[in-house]
């Protein structure tokens, strides 16, 4: 009897081991990819932030010199890091709420049984799957000096004399508009899923209590959507801080430094800009990446701390 039990345990553990191995072997491809292409580079970058390295054999430990270099004469109007930080924060602060509002508005409209709702859902989702380069080039034409958008604005009394991407004040807005337009469709899908999860009883109860449409929206829909909003805002803030592609295609950080972002600056430090040789200051570039990482971590941490205050889970 005891013998049997022991055998059973052994076979169980054999089975378990077998199952675990199978699980690991399924996990391995992805995990190896993650380790090789994400984890090791992240650790490497962290180490590099304290090193002077130009890509060759000479690596020297320089302590905090790289951080001293980027924080030297720090100012939001003059130093590269300050300007990149200011631009990135401004871009994030504008893009996140605008995208959330547009995504929610689209979702609310398309959640109703509108005729052709599926067609419109596909239409609004399309920018997200379309080629980014094509999108940016099209928007560059739309926002050109004598482009359609400027002509419309001129017709209603504005005085637009430049392409948006040629103006220090408007260039960043060009980036924001493209980002919002591109991402709204994606987050609309999130909100549509969120709206499906709102129980119809809540609306019925609200109607019985005499709530009007606006009250139903603010007292039922909005609170019930807070988990979606929480998720979307975290995802978006992180991706906004990492903005690079749209800038690289539309403005290359210009005119001047008006659209230089943190990642643009990191790229410039390590690989150079348009017509500029590689600076190969990988240490300094890694130091800027650490600043970026710290900011993203901090913002996400604060958001999770605030989660309990405003997010309703049923």
């Amino acid at each position: 009897m005891t013998n049997d039990a022991a055998t059973a345990r052994r076979t169980m553990s054999k089975l378990e081991r077998h199952n675990t191995l199978i699980a690991y072997s399924f996990l391995a491809p992805n995990f190896i990819g993650f380790v090789v292409f994400t984890l090791i580079p992240v650790i490497f970058s962290f180490v590099l932030a304290f090193m002077d390295w130009g890509g060759g054999e000479n690596v020297t430990f320089v302590g905090l010199d790289n951080f001293r270099y980027i924080f030297k004469d720090f100012s939001f109007t003059r130093s590269n890091l300050g300007i990149a930080l200011k631009n990135t924060v401004f871009y994030t602060l504008m893009t996140v709420p605008l995208t959330l509002v547009s995504a929610m508005a689209l979702a609310l409209v398309l959640n109703k049984a509108v005729k052709g709702a599926n067609f419109f859902r596909a239409v609004f989702f399309f920018p997200y799957v379309a080629s980014l380069v094509a999108i940016c080039v099209c928007w560059n034409f739309l926002l050109m000096k004598n482009g359609p958008i400027n002509q419309m604005l001129n017709a209603i009394g504005f005085n637009m004399t430049k392409s948006w991407t040629s103006s220090r004040d408007l260039a960043i807005w060009a980036i924001i508009i493209v980002s919002v337009w591109r991402n709204a469709g994606y987050y609309m899908v999130m909100y549509l899923a969120g709206l499906q999860g709102v129980p119809a009883e809540l609306y019925e109860a609200a109607t019985m209590d005499g709530a009007n449409g606006w009250q139903k929206f603010t007292k039922v829909t909005l609170p019930m959507l807070t988990p979606t909003t929480f998720f979307c805002s975290i995802m978006m803030i992180i991706s906004c801080f990492k903005i690079y592609d749209v800038v690289a295609i539309m403005t290359q950080g210009g005119p001047g430094r008006s659209t230089k972002m943190l990642v643009t600056y990191i790229f410039e430090l390590s690989f150079g800009g348009e017509g500029i040789a590689t600076s190969a200051q990988y240490g300094v570039a890694s130091a800027v990446s650490m600043v970026l990482l710290a900011i993203v971590l901090l913002v996400t941490f604060v958001q999770f701390r605030g989660e309990k205050k405003w997010v309703n889970y049923m």
């Binding site: 130009g54 060759g56 054999e57 080039v137 430049k162 040629s166 220090r168 150079g272 017509g275 190969a280």
Partner: protein
């Protein structure tokens, strides 16, 4: 049976490696090697002279070349040779020990270094004073012009000793008489600002930029009068200079000599049809006529190459008179220039045959587009950024120049 397979396999391996020993394959990194004619010409020329060597170009995209080549070198890729696009990249590669010095081989073969008009000097490492690359191309800036538009306007073709005032007047006249653009400025900083370095004294990294004012004013006056396309629209539309000139509605375009082979290609394949010519770039009264600026393109041997001797032989050939003639036949200007090479350049198929163009092949002086040295990259970034602000009129010329000077000063004092 197993033994037999093993024996067979090892015999096959031996045979393969014996073949490899007889035939060396040199891999050479370059940019746009598939579309730029001289790469194929070099390959054909060298393989004809050295049947035991095969040249294989590693094609990297032009705009990513610096990044890609640097990454490959740091990563220990076995590509044997690398074309050098940016001077400061070579400085960095040599400092990091990614490329090998050539001094001993140059001394051993008494290799002729006198025919590069001094362009070899920028491949001397600032760190250890050794020669890390040889130049095979040396492009300097010239004025391309569309003879058809000049004829249509009844204006005499440019000469090689014209001044910037004369150039501006001609551009205006052509626009007035034909409605075409008198001239074309691409969006690069060099198209406006670099004329100030033609005197061979000023550089764009010296931290003093009042000498650029004349050229910015000249440009803005032409832009205001519609004589050239506006910077704003060129930048927003991302228009490429090669297409802008090839369309045939631009009378003149200052551009690097490399455009000659592109244009010859366009005319050959029917993309463009026009009569064109080359003149020296205009000069300031105080600077000798025929002064220009430019940059060499070089070839360096990777420290990771397993064929060091063969790689050197190829580099040495590519940068010699023989290699120069092969390059010149494709309409590209080699770094090695002798009368024989100039004759080949002028006889390239589709190359203009007028005397002005021929004379423009031998410039008086070529200043470096950008000097080499510590902090130059940072200054270049700053100058480029402020340049965009002047060109978009976000800053006045004086404000922009003051900004350039203030920002360059940060890196000069280091």
């Amino acid at each position: 049976m197993k033994k037999l397979v093993a024996v067979l396999l090892s015999v096959m391996l031996l045979a393969v490696s014996a073949c490899a020993m007889a035939q060396t394959t040199l891999t050479v990194a370059g940019w746009d090697t598939a579309t730029t004619p001289y790469y194929a010409a070099i390959k054909a020329g060298y393989e004809a002279a050295n049947p035991d060597v095969t040249i294989e170009w590693v094609d990297l995209a032009s705009q990513d070349y610096n990044i890609k080549a640097s990454t490959m070198l740091s990563g220990g890729d076995t590509t044997d040779l690398y074309c050098v696009k940016e001077l400061s990249d070579l400085q960095n590669w040599s400092k990091e020990g990614l490329v090998v010095p050539m001094d001993e081989r140059i001394a051993a073969e008494s290799y002729d270094m006198t025919k590069y008009a001094g362009m070899d000097a920028c491949y001397v490492s600032l760190a250890d004073g050794k020669q890390y690359a040889l130049p095979f191309r040396a492009d300097y800036w010239v004025m391309f012009y569309n003879k058809d538009l000049f004829d249509q306007a009844g204006v005499a073709y440019p000469t090689n000793d014209w001044t910037w005032e004369e150039y501006a007047a001609i551009a205006r006249e052509i626009t007035e008489k034909t409605g075409a653009y008198g001239t074309h400025y691409h969006t690069w900083t060099s198209c406006v600002a670099n004329w100030a370095v033609c005197d061979g004294v000023n550089t764009l990294a010296d931290g003093e930029y009042s000498d650029l004012k004349y050229f910015y004013e000249l440009y803005q006056a032409l832009e205001d009068d519609g004589v050239c396309m506006s910077y704003d629209e060129l930048k927003a539309s991302g228009m490429h200079y090669s297409g802008a000139f090839a369309q045939g509605n631009v009378a003149m375009m200052p551009m690097g000599y490399w455009y000659a082979s592109t244009l010859m290609g366009y005319i050959k394949d029917g993309t463009a049809s026009m009569n064109w010519g080359i003149a020296a770039v205009p000069h300031l009264e105080s600077v000798p006529a025929g002064s220009s600026f430019g940059s060499p393109t070089g070839i360096a041997i990777s420290a990771s190459s397993e064929n060091q001797d063969e790689a050197w032989k190829f580099a040495a050939w590519m940068c010699s008179e023989e290699g120069a003639k092969v390059i010149a036949e494709t309409g590209t200007r080699p770094a090695y220039v002798s009368d024989a090479v100039a004759a080949v350049m002028a006889s390239a198929e589709g190359f203009p045959t007028d005397e002005t163009t021929k004379a423009a092949l031998l410039p008086t002086a070529i200043a470096l587009e950008w000097p080499i040295g510590d902090g130059v990259n940072e200054i270049k970034t700053a100058v480029n950024e402020e340049h965009t602000l002047i060109m978009t009129r976000e800053l006045t010329i004086d404000e922009g120049i003051a900004e350039m000077e203030a920002r360059a000063a940060e890196f000069l004092t280091k």
